[in-house]
């Protein structure tokens, strides 16, 4: 899923300062799961902003809250069209994709990001999320025993570890596993060390030139698009 982190309240306060009526808009998907932009966090943030205003003795905003199922799908944004009419800005707690779909769906509306979109990853334990994919567009997990060196090695290198690894950890931090040691160990367990002995040529860093777009093949479009 997409992992986001809520921005500090004072940064959010600075962003909303010019706008009187603000819709705090949550998203029901990834950001709900990573406890940063779902219904609960929308309500917490609402409280925090109100409290900050009370403390500063300067009540200058009115807030409304709403959480849609997915901000990155226009059909869900249609549901807030009316509310959007009554506010000066939408503070989105969705990832950057959600915030941008709002901007595309409501051309006249100011959109403010309430979170920083951090990475694609998973929950490792309660309250800890780890990055797992960089969306490089050229997946090679088959060669690396299901462990991504592009994401999990800080240098993203392909032909084995650098000489910086120590105690199985990465040179940048004694807390971070060296991806290539993990890959070696797992390939060994799978009896596939020949995959590590192979030479991998330099990556194609632009399998799809940026900004990236993928067009579904005609047969998929005929079956009903991606909303099915």
């Amino acid at each position: 899923m997409i992992i986001v982190e809520q921005k500090p309240v004072d940064e959010i306060q600075r962003m909303i300062a010019p706008y009187e009526r603000v819709l705090i808009l949550g998203c029901g998907t990834c950001v709900t799961v990573c406890n940063a932009g779902g219904e609960r966090e929308v309500s917490f943030l609402h409280d925090a902003l109100l409290l900050a205003e009370v403390e500063s003795k300067e009540i200058s905003h009115t807030f409304v809250e709403h959480t849609v199922k997915r901000q990155c799908d226009e059909e869900f944004l249609d549901l807030i069209a009316e509310e959007a009419n009554d506010v000066d800005a939408i503070l989105s707690l969705a990832c950057g994709i959600g915030a941008q779909s709002i901007a595309e769906r409501f051309p006249e509306m100011v959109v403010l990001p309430g979170v920083n979109t951090s990475f694609m990853g998973m929950a490792k334990q309660w309250g800890v999320w780890d990055e797992r994919c960089t969306a490089c567009g050229d997946c090679r997990l088959d060669d690396t025993a299901g462990i991504c060196p592009i994401t999990r090695c800080t240098k993203g290198i392909l032909n084995g570890p650098c000489a910086g690894t120590k105690n199985g950890k990465c040179e940048v931090s004694p807390e971070m596993d060296c991806a290539w040691i993990l890959i070696y160990q797992r390939l060994e367990r799978l009896g596939q060390l020949d995959k590590m002995r192979r030479y991998y040529p330099p990556r194609n860093f632009r399998p799809i030139p940026r900004p990236r777009r993928i067009m579904a093949s005609p047969s998929i479009v005929a079956v009903g698009g991606s909303h099915g």
Binding site: T154, K155, G156, I157, L158, N159, G160, P161, C162, A163, G164, T165, K166, N167, G168, C170, E171, V172, S173, W180, I181, Y184, L193, M196, R197, Y199, Y200, P201, P202, R203, F205
Partner: protein
């Protein structure tokens, strides 16, 4: 014909000594020039480091040109941290055009360990790929397969970590570098001969020259610091203890003693093809180490 003076020496069968100089942060190159002058006659080649430890400095290529100008034999350390394939190829062509024909291809330390932790790390390629890229240029093509008007030639080397605590994956990488065309290896710092002997038993099957990396320690504190903060370096406790026995202010003397002993041991046992002395900031003492190592050897 040999591609460089250093390649000629590599093939001469003599015990080789290389060392390295680190360019300054800033444009005052007097000390660098002084070190080059001091070292150029004493060693077979001088490496110039490339933003060592990811600390921004005067460029490696600039340092190599100074070595050339002063009559020494430079080895261009080239990391993949700061340049993509376009920039690496351009620098290689430039180096060749100015007579800098020895390259040590390195992946490079991560950005995080240096003094510019917020800049964009490149790593478009890594060491094994860079070695192949150099061989590609030599074949008259660029990385995209286009023809070159005039192709460069290089004597190329790489690094290897003989005493890594998890050695197998390092050896796989080593073999990839050999296959990619590395002619010589300057190893990561070694601090005892047992693991190096084991490494050489394995490495001697390959047709490459190995120069053992000797880091000259200046104190027990420095050794502890390196263990904690320098990528890959593992100074054994015995060496730290030995350094700690030195009187205050005499740490470097002890470090020199250890370095001399290592070089002597390597030479006596004929373990490898030479040594690469890294004095990290104390370049001035390298001639003394060489002299002591070779003299004591002559006496035995």
């Amino acid at each position: 014909m040999a591609k460089s003076l250093f390649e000629e020496k590599l093939n001469s069968g003599k015990f080789l000594i290389t060392t390295e100089v680190g360019p300054p942060k800033g444009v005052d190159i007097e000390e660098l020039k002084h070190h080059i002058d001091l070292l150029k006659e004493k060693v077979d080649a001088i490496n110039v480091t490339d933003h060592q430890s990811s600390v921004m400095r005067y460029p490696s290529l600039g340092g190599c040109l100074l070595v050339k100008e002063q009559g020494g034999e430079p080895i261009l350390q080239m990391t993949c941290r700061d340049r993509n394939r376009m920039a690496l190829q351009a620098d290689l062509m430039f180096a060749h055009s100015r007579g800098v024909n020895n390259v040590l291809a390195l992946t490079g330390d991560s950005i995080d360990v240096g003094d510019h932790p917020n800049v964009k790390p490149v790593f478009d390629v890594e060491s094994a790929q860079l070695l192949r890229l150099i061989r590609t240029l030599e074949s008259g093509k660029d990385a995209a397969g286009n023809d070159l008007k005039g192709s460069p030639e290089f004597c190329i080397g790489a690094s290897v970590h003989p005493s890594a605590d998890f050695i197998e994956p390092q050896l796989i990488k080593f073999e990839k570098k050999v296959a990619a065309g590395a002619q010589f290896f300057q190893t990561q710092g070694i601090f005892e001969l047992a693991s190096f002997r084991r490494f050489m038993q394995y490495a001697s099957q390959f047709n490459v020259k190995i120069l053992a990396g000797i880091i000259v320690m200046a104190s027990a504190g420095m050794a502890r610091y390196m263990n904690k903060s320098v990528p890959g370096i593992i100074v054994p406790q015995e060496v730290i203890d030995e350094l700690a026995t030195a009187e205050k202010g005499k740490g470097l003397q002890k470090g020199i003693e250890i370095a001399v002993r290592l070089i002597r041991g390597i030479k006596e046992e004929n373990l490898c093809d030479g040594v690469h002395i890294m004095a990290v900031g104390n370049e001035g003492i390298v001639p003394e180490i060489i002299e002591a190592a070779l003299m004591e050897h002559a006496q035995t």
